[in-house]
Symmetry: C2
Subunit: 239 residues, 2 copies
Amino acid sequence: MELAKKARSVSSRRKLAPRQKGKLPGKSALSRMQILDAAAQLFRRQGYSDTTLRQIAKAAGMQAGSIYYHFGSKDEIVDEVLATGMKDIYKLVEKTVASSGEESGYRERIERGMVAHLDLLLTKGDYFSSNIRLYGQIPEALRPKHLHLRQRYGRLWDQILREAQEAGEIRRDVKIVPLRMFILGALNWTMEWFDPHRYSVGDFARHINAVVFDGIKVDGKKDVAEVEWPAALRGPRSR
Amino acid sequence: MELAKKARSVSSRRKLAPRQKGKLPGKSALSRMQILDAAAQLFRRQGYSDTTLRQIAKAAGMQAGSIYYHFGSKDEIVDEVLATGMKDIYKLVEKTVASSGEESGYRERIERGMVAHLDLLLTKGDYFSSNIRLYGQIPEALRPKHLHLRQRYGRLWDQILREAQEAGEIRRDVKIVPLRMFILGALNWTMEWFDPHRYSVGDFARHINAVVFDGIKVDGKKDVAEVEWPAALRGPRSR
DNA sequence: GCGGTTTTCTAACTAGCGTTCGATATTACA
DNA sequence: TGTAATATCGAACGCTAGTTAGAAAACCGC
């Protein structure tokens, strides 16, 4: 686990991709997907080190050894899972924000981006949630690549927020980067406590967005969305 | 790792506490502390499963087997580390907010609480940061106890925020619990990216507090603290 | 400095991990 | 239908993990 002590004889046995054209999944590609799906789900729930290749294999309907036909190592699996997750969220948020079109203000676009982020994190997307949870657990060697992907996603948000600022919807003295860190940090942390079966992701995003835009202090206009919060929010799960 | 399969023959070998009065540390108590300190530091950096008893022992200046004179299992160590960490932050924030005295408003008290939280999390307190990082990684059996401690800390913040609301410093339509989740979530997430050697914890807390209280939208008074942000905040480390 | 207690060491055990590889089953095309 | 390519199995290997227990060392009051 610590370090890859022997120079990895990478994929020494794996044969090249069959079925070169963009045909139906094909047996190999299908098994690959099943392995990745199983791994993402287990990683998300158990973390990297506590997830076993034998568990992954079982969930994918095969034996542990068979995994090595498709992947050269456990590291290679987590690498692909995390990369997929980050690309997923990037595309989703990009699309979501763009498709909000010109008719809506940045405040609404940002809220939709937050909903997309929370939704993929909490209800869909074991790949993305694996990324968020596992980044600090993966072997050092994989870090730089995934740090880069994270930064790319961060820049996407910076861009949105900066545009909002230039459009006059965010005060000019607000620093974009720490603001983004703050917002995404709060969203990512929901993994630790938010149960989407009990609360509504949309409601939470709306409330948070209202706090961030309007602030919580008492003064003039009060236009925080009057969301009906499930009374149980102080319930069993808490931080 | 999965579950404690054999009914724990708890501390079958450990003898009772020596040196009953509140004297000097004593050899045993000192070794115990060294083990806990080493464990907290390693847990914080590597997580639970990737931290070895042999690593802990080495950092504490002894052999792995010797640990079992002081603790019944690895679980017992992490249990004590996490509990200590949560009690530390509770006392610290309680004291910090209380000692802000009557002369200051809630806005300032909350900011001081945030600074205390960030400070213990990021620069002091391997115990508290271990708690924050490891809660999702510890064996199921330990969870309920630590969930309870977390909830207790959450209630402390709720109380502060609710008082602020009743004192008229927070709008009445703001829901306290999700607000607290939001704020503490953002603070906890700093573990993933904030480098206290590069940035100032106080500056970050001040900026965040300004955003939360005043909001980011453009309107009347602009009183977000004009913090000088280290130009490098968009630098190598990012989300 | 002796004797019992406290603390640590040393060496081993078992379990489970990632990984390997020859044998075997399955598939797809001639 | 036969056969080469593809995909999986099954058993093993080496290693490291947490843990155990008897022997050894360190400690301490007398």
